[in-house]
Amino acid sequence: MRVIPRGVTRLMRTTAFKLLAVYLLVFAVFSLSMIAYVAWHTRQLIEAQVAENVSGEVRFLAEQYRLGGIQRLVFAIDRRTRRPGSSIYLLTNFNGDVLASNVSDLPLGLLDAAGTRFTFYRRSEETGAKENLAFVEVFMLPGGYRLLVGRDVEERDTVRQMVVRPAQGALLMILILGLIGGFFVTRRVLKRIDSMTATSEEIMAGNLSGRLTVDGTDDEFDRLAHSLNAMLERIEALMVGLKEVSDNIAHDLKTPLTRLRNRAEEALRHASSEAQYRAALETTIEESDSLIRTFNALLMIARAEAGQARDNMVSVDLSAIAQNVAELYEPLADDQGLDLTVEAEPVSVHGVRELLAQVLANLVDNAIKYGRPADGSRGHIRIRLRREGSEAVLEVSDGGEGIAEKDRERVVERFVRLDASRSRPGSGLGLSLVAAVARLHGGSLAFSDAAPGLRVTLRLPALAAEGLA
């Protein structure tokens, strides 16, 4: 059996509602203690007032006795007892006989000692009514007379009721109104969260293009929706990228795998000598090596794009890398009929040395492959590194045919090989890695015309120059 409707239990589970409940509770505790304090204080005040009144009357009556003896005192008491709302009085002689009084049922021995105290009493004219509490003062007059003056203090409690009741009522009202208000506020919040949850569920179900609604109020929910949308944007881009990659892998890895398999099959069918088997096996190994290289390049790009390598970044001297790579490739370039020169200013970046060296090696490798002038004369590859403001600018330019403007965007995509290069060895991943590493380091990659030839410009955030400050 469910007493509380589902909607209410869900509401009670929301953070906003819990906060509201806690606030209300704290408020109630504060209010109650305040009311208790006020009530206690009021009571103190009233009691002090009563004591003062009583002792004032005692002094007055004692004065009457002093001035006119017992008759004047009795007369004064009688006159006072006839006033409405009068105090209570009792006067006895040394025998204990009552000379004047408007009370009955006083406890025995009350008059035995002077001083103030609380006692129950009943007025003589209202016998049978309930006993009231009174504050009394007993005073010994000369001649064995005892005077009691008291004041009913039940009204003290009435005053307290006057303060406490409405306060309690107000508190109850506040609690009820708070709960109702809280209910509506939380329901509004809940509605927005519900719509967010609904959208997220839709996205999880596969609709990656779904976005959360931003209602333009720029409140917390709007900001949350904004950043979630940005995150979704990024995830969608990654998913599209992943799909492209898997399509490309399907094509560009399956093609060489098929070739590999065909060749092995053919050798099995037609090879007749050991030498032919041998040759077939050797090409098989070569082709699997190139497949492994492609795999490694793909993994490297994927890692760079995932940004994991950021944890291993240190200060890297880019000029040392430029010199090293130039020195590594210079003999090869020379063999291929190209001069390789390097001009490097000292610049350091925050990065991964191996990746940056690999990137420059890829660029130089490309320049060696495609950088020879069309007329067959000796080519020239230039590596330039300079600092431009807060950037390290690394340029590799050659004197080859360059890349047509329409193709410049495309060449960084995975496995894209321009027609001119299809016949030469290469995986089509070199520039993809360069682009991915540039992004990883927070930099950019651009291609421009070196007239003639290609200029590749890699811009990376530079570290502040050391020793110059």
Binding site: E282, I285, S288, D289, I292, R293, N296, A297, L299, M300, R303, Q308, A309, D311, N312, N324, E327, L328, Y329, P331, L332, D334, D335, V352, E354, L355, A357, Q358, A361, N362, D365, I368, G426, G430
Partner: protein
């Protein structure tokens, strides 16, 4: 004609292979034996650790992912117990940072899978303290080729051969491992300190330049190309 080119015949090592993949282990045992080495095999990390601790091996070849105790933990445990046997770590993880982790755990070399056996063999032989020249030696000699590490001088048959600094380091590395196969990636790693794939034959061009300075005008070549594997410095023809 043997399938695998090996180094000096006189030089045989005792190896411990810790690898859980049965096929890979069988293949490697056979191939190492053909190359003239003695191989023990352990199929998991605990067994491997126990064998390594009392086996007196020349080199340990340890797969990174093993049952019962992973490869890196085997290596660091060995090092903690003061066991200094050279270790080569095999791993399917081949990125630069994985390599750093492997070497930090106490490995001496790191080879990502898949690899060519010639590469593994060359690296294992280079790790062994039996072959090559002790690193403390200041003058390396192979036949009439002499390299003075302190004076930075190289001479062949008593005649000075002027070399560029990088050529010097290249020859120095080749001569320290005289009689052993040195692969192109080993040269890139040890002479240039890069661990990337150079895609083209950059190293070959450097070696052929060096060769033209060392061997030109002499009947007996010093720098030999080992087909399908790399290079070797040794005196005379094989």
């Amino acid at each position: 004609m043997t399938l695998i080119q090996t180094s000096d015949d006189s030089f045989a090592m005792r190896l411990l292979l810790i690898e859980d993949d049965r096929d890979a282990a069988d293949y490697l045992r056979k191939a190492f034996r053909e190359a003239g080495h003695v191989v023990d095999h352990a199929g998991d990390g605990e067994e491997g650790l126990a064998l390594a601790l009392d086996g007196h091996y020349d080199v340990l070849v340890v797969d990174r992912m093993l049952p019962r105790r992973d490869g890196l933990s085997v290596v660091s445990e060995l090092r903690q117990r003061g066991e200094a046997t050279p270790v080569l770590i095999l791993s399917a993880l081949g990125q630069v940072d994985d390599r750093v982790v492997g070497l930090r755990a106490g490995g001496d070399d790191y080879l990502p899978k898949p690899y060519a056996f010639t590469e593994l063999l060359a690296r294992v032989e280079a790790l062994s303290r039996r072959g090559g020249v002790p690193a403390s030696e200041t003058v390396y000699r192979v036949g009439d080729l002499e390299l003075d590490r302190l004076a930075h001088r190289v001479s062949r048959a008593g005649k000075d051969v002027p070399l560029q600094p990088r050529e010097f380091r290249l020859l120095e590395y080749l001569m320290r491992h005289a009689g052993q196969v040195v692969t192109r990636t080993m040269l890139l790693e040890n002479v240039w300190d890069y661990h990337f794939d150079p895609q083209t034959n950059v190293i070959d061009v450097h070696v052929s330049r060096l060769r033209s300075k060392i061997d030109k005008g002499f009947d007996v070549p010093m720098i030999h190309t080992v087909r399908g594997a790399g290079y070797m410095v040794r005196e005379g023809l094989r």
